[in-house]
């Protein structure tokens, strides 16, 4: 069974292995053992905090474990706030109009404006799944488990939450936006800039990036075309977030132009439609041994430190109570009559 759980100290080796497999443009997992160790410690501390009433600097990093093998095969995370230690930069794609009634000319010109508007906001991040586990809706479980955690503990996050999506770059890691814009100001290459950023060093952005709005219409077409566009491989992840209610509100990454998607926590479908109920443990009537059928549901427990989330299938929609198999209950670390949270995996059933 595939289970989402908080990361723990023992996962260091697995995390290093996963980090090795990510690539350029994946700045939140750097293949550096010391950094990853610190990251795990931060996450363990965050999950251990009791009585959190407002978000501070927690980093809720979770992993996807295959209980059959004990392998950690994916990660996902939520930062309770960004930009409070080091500035968090983005470009806002705004509009400036230039019109002359006399000449009958009206131009609405898009502009990129450097900002720190996401300062203090919660971010969902660090989504990575091993290639040979990209099936059986594992990706959806990994991504959406975070919404179950947020639904259960909204006080730990800000009203608005956002996600940065990887932007367009070619097989050599060359980003058209970087080549047309960033390169002129940085005198270093994209990879190097990307690495510096991922190591938490961002002062140089303020020092080197242009303060003034950049006129998008002056950029080469290949750069304009990637603004707000995600990398080929990230299209499914984007669609998934959009189905949950995340929207592109004209914020893009300053390096590769990838979009930030945002939503108010309470408006995320999985948050809004999820409901608490009490677990019964036994043999659910509508589950036939060894047969996978029915709608998919995300089920999580209501614990912080021992948070768990799994994916189940049921033929009939759950009511005010829910019967789980012993295996499911074990995976969720719950006893009978403990509260669980449940929601349809997708906005449309059977998907």
């Amino acid at each position: 069974m595939m289970v989402i759980r908080p990361i723990c100290q023992n996962d260091l080796e697995s995390l290093c292995r996963l980090a090795d497999k990510t690539g350029i443009g994946f700045t939140s997992l750097v293949a550096d053992e010391a950094i990853l160790k610190k990251k795990i410690e931060g996450a363990v501390r965050s999950f251990a905090k009791d009585n959190v009433t407002t978000p501070h600097n927690e980093d809720y990093l979770m992993v996807l474990e295959d209980t059959a093998t004990g392998d950690v095969v994916g990660t996902c995370g939520i930062l309770s706030t960004v930009g409070l230690d080091e500035p968090f930069y983005s470009y806002h794609l705004g509009t400036i109009t230039h019109a002359s009634r006399e000449l009958g000319v009206h131009n609405a010109i898009p502009t990129l404006i450097l900002n720190n508007d996401f300062t203090g906001c919660s971010e969902i991040c660090t989504l990575f799944l091993e290639e040979n586990y990209r099936h059986s809706k594992n990706g959806q479980l990994l991504s959406k488990a975070r919404f179950m955690f947020m639904a259960q503990f909204p006080e730990r996050f800000t009203e608005k939450v956002f996600a940065e999506m990887r932007g367009v770059s070619d097989e050599n890691g060359v980003s058209p936006l970087w080549e047309s814009l960033g390169r002129h100001f940085f005198s270093i290459d994209f990879k190097e800039a990307d690495e510096l950023t991922s190591q938490g060093s961002k002062q140089f952005i303020a020092e080197l990036m242009p303060n003034n709005p950049v006129y998008v219409n002056l950029l080469p077409k290949e750069a304009r075309d990637v603004l707000g566009q995600v990398h080929q491989n990230t299209i499914p992840a984007r669609r998934l977030l959009e189905q949950e209610g995340f929207r592109y509100e004209n914020y893009v990454d300053i390096f590769d132009g990838g979009p930030s998607l945002e939503a108010r926590v309470q408006d995320i479908r999985a948050v809004r439609e999820s409901r608490l109920c009490l677990a019964n443990i036994g043999q659910p009537k509508d589950v036939r041994e060894g047969v996978s059928e029915g709608n998919y549901y995300l089920v999580s427990n209501a614990k912080v430190k021992d948070f768990r989330c799994i994916l189940i299938q049921r033929l009939t929609p759950p009511g005010s109570a829910m019967t789980l198999t012993q295996e499911e209950a074990d995976a969720l670390c719950i006893e009978s009559k403990e509260p669980i949270r449940i929601v349809e995996l997708s906005p449309y059933s059977r998907r």
Binding site: H98, E102, V105, N107, I109, H184, F185, L208, P210, N212
Partner: protein, 337 residues
Amino acid sequence: MYLVRPADFADLPALERLAQQAGIGITNFPANRERLNDKIASSRRSFMTDVVQPGDESYLFVLVETKTEQIVGCCGIDAIVGADTPFYSYRIDEVVHASPQLQIHNRIPALFLCHDYSGTSRLIALVVDKAHQNLTAMSLLSKARLLFIARHPERFTKRLFVELRGENDKHGHSAFWDALGRHFFSMDFKKADYLSGVSNKHFIAELMPRYPIYVPTLPEAAQEVIGVVHEDSSQSADILLDEGFEFRGYVDIFDAGPTVEARTESLHTIAQQKMGKALILTETCKGAMHLISAGHLEDFRVTAAPAEPQTAGLGIEKTTQERLGISSGSRIQWVTL
């Protein structure tokens, strides 16, 4: 031989022909009969008005080939630009972006829209017929204006500037315009250039980019022509630079042609010009070529001729005397050419 004098209405057909020859990129001199007529009228008014300090006067001069009495060139001076609507230029400033941590120190040139030449006198539109583009005619026409300014300093500001025509190809395509202006004006260079000559310049305020343009983000072809003089104008540019005009980092907003400026009093012709009596020589003059002017305002005349400076004044030949329409002993201004 050549003579420079104020333009008159009778010169209109000749000016129209010159304007058509001049082509694109000389926004102050559009090939539009009505507009040219206005320019002549405004010039005549300016010459005839009493002026205490510079205002909206504009002075237009023509270059006459004295043998045929043909008009073969023209030039002008605006007493002040930007009085009604601001006068726009791009100032090239370097923006420093430095990161001690990364050991990076970038100085990035950027174009800032400014009005820095508003309120300054401008030399405009030196146009000379192809057949007469020799150094004497060009220098005479260019420097005649300076003698006029020296004669009537109260009519001009303490600083002068000239816009030099920027680089564009023979079809009138400016790489700079294509990379920048076109995106904001939604029209081609010809049209913008024409409008800028005939319309009030309000549309520039409405349509120009309001934020600095970072030069390295422009296409290379556009970067290369910033501050570069059109090859057809290189001779007039050289004359001005020799005079003491300097490039101070300002370029035209349309074609990025350079603007050169100088303090009026420090220009060679103005600093060196002398005033005195005309002495008529009885034999052929062996002296150097001089720029010699006579009269003032609407009677102002300038020619280029050999002359011999003497203690009592300037010795000139009889033909020169006749060309200028003066008598022996008339007060004249001169400077070596």
